[in-house]
C-alpha cells in the first residue's frame, strides 16, 4: 500500500473497519423518517380512535372511551356503508382479475419479446395518467348526453348513469393495470414446458388451464388483488365523482374530518379498512402472494 494517507483515505478506512456503523448510518435516517412520520402517526390514529370531541367547542378531548366503536357497531348506517364498501372492493377485484387474466396471458405467452416490452409500456401509461383525470373521464362518458348513452342508443339501451354501478365500472377501470402487471409477471415466469407437458399427457386446453396454469398463476393474481382491493377500500373520490348519492367508508372518514370536525370518530372509521386489509393480508399470506409484490 502507499504510505501517503489523505484525510479521505482515513475516513474511508475507518468506516471500512466498522460495517455495523455503516449500516447504522445508512438505515438510521430512513428508519427515523418512516418511524416518526408513519409508524407513530399510525399508532396515534389508533389512540385517537378512543378519544372524543367536545360537543360545544369541537376540540378533541383526551378522555378514553369506547363510544366511537359503540356508535360504529350499533348504527345500521355504518353497517350498510361498510358492507357496501367491502362488496364494491370485492366485486372490483373479481372483475379486474377476470378481465386482466386473458390480457396478461396473451402478453406473456403469445406476444414476441419485442412486442412484450411495448405492451408493458402500453399498460403502464394509463396507470400513470392522473387518477382524477381518469375518474373524470368516466364522469363525462357516463353523463346524460355522454358517449356511453350515444353508443348504446342505437340498440335501444342506456348507460347506467351515476350510482353504484358507475362507481364499480370506474374503480375497475382505474385499477385494471395494477392487476394486469403482476399477473403478467407471474405468467412470464411460468415455463412453457409445463404447459406442453400437460398437453403431451393428453390434457385438453381447459384441463391444462384448470390443473396447471391457474394454480401456478394464483399467487400473482392474489398479489394483484391486494392492490385492487386496498385501493377500492380506501377510495372516496371516485364515488363522489360518479357515485351519485351513495357513500363508501372513505366518505365517512372525509366528512368527519372536514364538515363534522369529529377527528376521533374519523380515526375509528379509518381503522376499519386497516383491520380489513390486515385480515386480508394474513389470509393471503399462505399463497406466497406477498413475495410477488
Amino acid at each position: 500500500m502507499t504510505a501517503v494517507s489523505t484525510p479521505s483515505d482515513r475516513v474511508s478506512a475507518y468506516f471500512h473497519r466498522k460495517p455495523r456503523l455503516r449500516l447504522g448510518l445508512l438505515l438510521g435516517a430512513p428508519m427515523l423518517w418512516l418511524g416518526l412520520a408513519y409508524l407513530v402517526a399510525l399508532g396515534a390514529l389508533f389512540v385517537t380512535a378512543f378519544w372524543s370531541t367536545d360537543v360545544f367547542t369541537g376540540n378533541v378531548v383526551t378522555d378514553w372511551s369506547l363510544d366511537n366503536f359503540v356508535t360504529l357497531f350499533s348504527d345500521s348506517v355504518y353497517h350498510t356503508i361498510t358492507l357496501r364498501t367491502v362488496g364494491i372492493a370485492l366485486l372490483v377485484t373479481v372483475i379486474d382479475a377476470v378481465i386482466a387474466f386473458p390480457m396478461a396471458f396473451a402478453m406473456a405467452k403469445l406476444a414476441s419479446p419485442r412486442a412484450q416490452r411495448i405492451l408493458v409500456i402500453a399498460v403502464m401509461t394509463p396507470l400513470w395518467a392522473s387518477y382524477l383525470v381518469k375518474a373524470y373521464a368516466w364522469r363525462t362518458l357516463l353523463s346524460g348526453n355522454g358517449v356511453l348513452n350515444w353508443l348504446l342508443s342505437p340498440f335501444g339501451g342506456t348507460g347506467p348513469g351515476y350510482g353504484i354501478t358507475a362507481t364499480v365500472i370506474t374503480l375497475c377501470y382505474l385499477w385494471l393495470p395494477y392487476m394486469i402487471l403482476p399477473i403478467y409477471a407471474g405468467l412470464e415466469r411460468l415455463p412453457d414446458s409445463l404447459v406442453d407437458a400437460s398437453g403431451d399427457l393428453g390434457a385438453r386446453s381447459p384441463r391444462t388451464f384448470r390443473s396447471v396454469i391457474l394454480p401456478l398463476a394464483f399467487p400473482a393474481i392474489v398479489a394483484g388483488s391486494i392492490f385492487t382491493f386496498s385501493l377500492s377500500l380506501g377510495d372516496y373520490i371516485a364515488v363522489k365523482i360518479v357515485g351519485g348519492t351513495s357513500q363508501m367508508l372513505g366518505n365517512v372518514v372525509y366528512d368527519n374530518i372536514g364538515a363534522a370536525g369529529n377527528l376521533p370518530f374519523a380515526a375509528t372509521v379509518g381503522l376499519v379498512p386497516v383491520v380489513i386489509m390486515l385480515v386480508y393480508l394474513a389470509a393471503v399470506r399462505r399463497t406466497g402472494a406477498l413475495n410477488n409484490l
Binding site: 423518517w33 383525470v133 373521464a137 386446453s205 380506501g234 373520490i237
Partner: protein, 267 residues
C-alpha cells in the same frame, strides 16, 4: 394451443387496450369540443378552452404548488430511498424483513389511512398547522418506496465486482462511490426520481388531508373545479394536458431503468 383460443386471447387483449385508452381519447377530444357540456358527438371544435386554461390563474398557481411539493418530496425520497436500498441490498441483519415491510406500508395501506393518520398526527398530536411543509412530508413518505425499488433493482443487477476491483486497485471507499458506484446508479436514480415526482404530482387523497386550507395542488384544483359548470372546459384542458404529460416520465423511466422496475411503487 388451439387456433380458436389464440384468436380469443388476442381479441381480449385488443378489447382490453381499447377500453384502457378510449376514455383518455375522449378527454383529449373533449378539450376542443365547442359544447360546454361535452355533448356527444361534438358538433364543432374550438381552441378557446385552451386559451382560457393557459391564462387561468388558479390552475397556474396550483401547478406551481404541485411542482414545488413534487421536487421537495422527490429530493427527500431520493436521499432516504437510496440509503435504505443500500442498507437492505448490501447487508444482512436482524429485522430486515420488517424494514422492507415498513418501506412498502405507506402505499400498501389505503391512501385514506395514510392521509388521516398524518392529518391526526400533525393536528392533534403535534399541534402543527397544515401547510406546504406537511404535504411535502406526507408525499416523501410514500415516494421513498419508488426510489427504493429502482435502486434495489439496479444494485441487485450490478453485484459488487466493479467496486471490489476499484478497491483492489487502491481507490478508497469514497473515491469508489464517486467514480464507480454512483455513475452506475445514476440512471436508476433518475428513473426513480421521475416516478416519485409523477406519483407526488398525481396524489390527491393524502394531499387532501395534509395540505393547508386555501392551498391547492393541481389535482386538488381539478377536484375543486370539477363541479363548477362554467369551469368544466378549462378542467378538461388541464386533464388533457396531464394525460399527454404523464406519458413522459413513464417512457423516460422505462428507457433509463431498462425495464428493471419502472412500474413504480406499487408493483
Amino acid at each position: 394451443m388451439s387456433k380458436t383460443a389464440r384468436v380469443l386471447l388476442w381479441t381480449a387483449l385488443g378489447a382490453g387496450f381499447a377500453v384502457l385508452y378510449f376514455p383518455l381519447l375522449v378527454v383529449l377530444l373533449n378539450s376542443v369540443n365547442a359544447d360546454t357540456t361535452f355533448g356527444w358527438p361534438p358538433k364543432s371544435f374550438t381552441l378557446e378552452w385552451w386559451g382560457r386554461a393557459v391564462t387561468s390563474e388558479g390552475a397556474l398557481h396550483a401547478l406551481w404548488t404541485s411542482v414545488l411539493v413534487g421536487l421537495a418530496a422527490t429530493a427527500i425520497a431520493l436521499l432516504l430511498g437510496t440509503m435504505a436500498a443500500f442498507a437492505l441490498q448490501r447487508y444482512r441483519f436482524f429485522g430486515r424483513n420488517s424494514v422492507s415491510l415498513l418501506i412498502v406500508l405507506p402505499i400498501a395501506l389505503p391512501g385514506i389511512v395514510t392521509g388521516i393518520a398524518l392529518n391526526n398526527a400533525f393536528r392533534t398530536i403535534l399541534g402543527v398547522d397544515l401547510g406546504v411543509a406537511t404535504v411535502i412530508i406526507a408525499h416523501a413518505t410514500f415516494c421513498i418506496v419508488v426510489v427504493f425499488n429502482n435502486v434495489v433493482a439496479r444494485l441487485r443487477r450490478l453485484g459488487g465486482n466493479l467496486e471490489e476491483a476499484s478497491m483492489d486497485l487502491g481507490a478508497n471507499g469514497l473515491t469508489t462511490f464517486r467514480l464507480v458506484t454512483f455513475p452506475m446508479l445514476r440512471s436508476a436514480l433518475l428513473a426513480g426520481g421521475l416516478l416519485a415526482f409523477a406519483l407526488s404530482f398525481d396524489e390527491i387523497i393524502v394531499t387532501t388531508f395534509t395540505l393547508g386550507s386555501g392551498m391547492e395542488t393541481l389535482p386538488i384544483w381539478i377536484y375543486n373545479n370539477l363541479f363548477r359548470p362554467n369551469q368544466a372546459p378549462v378542467v378538461n384542458v388541464v386533464a388533457a394536458v396531464l394525460i399527454v404529460v404523464s406519458t413522459v416520465p413513464v417512457y423516460l423511466a422505462q428507457r433509463l431503468s431498462g425495464g428493471e422496475s419502472a412500474s413504480g411503487g406499487r408493483i
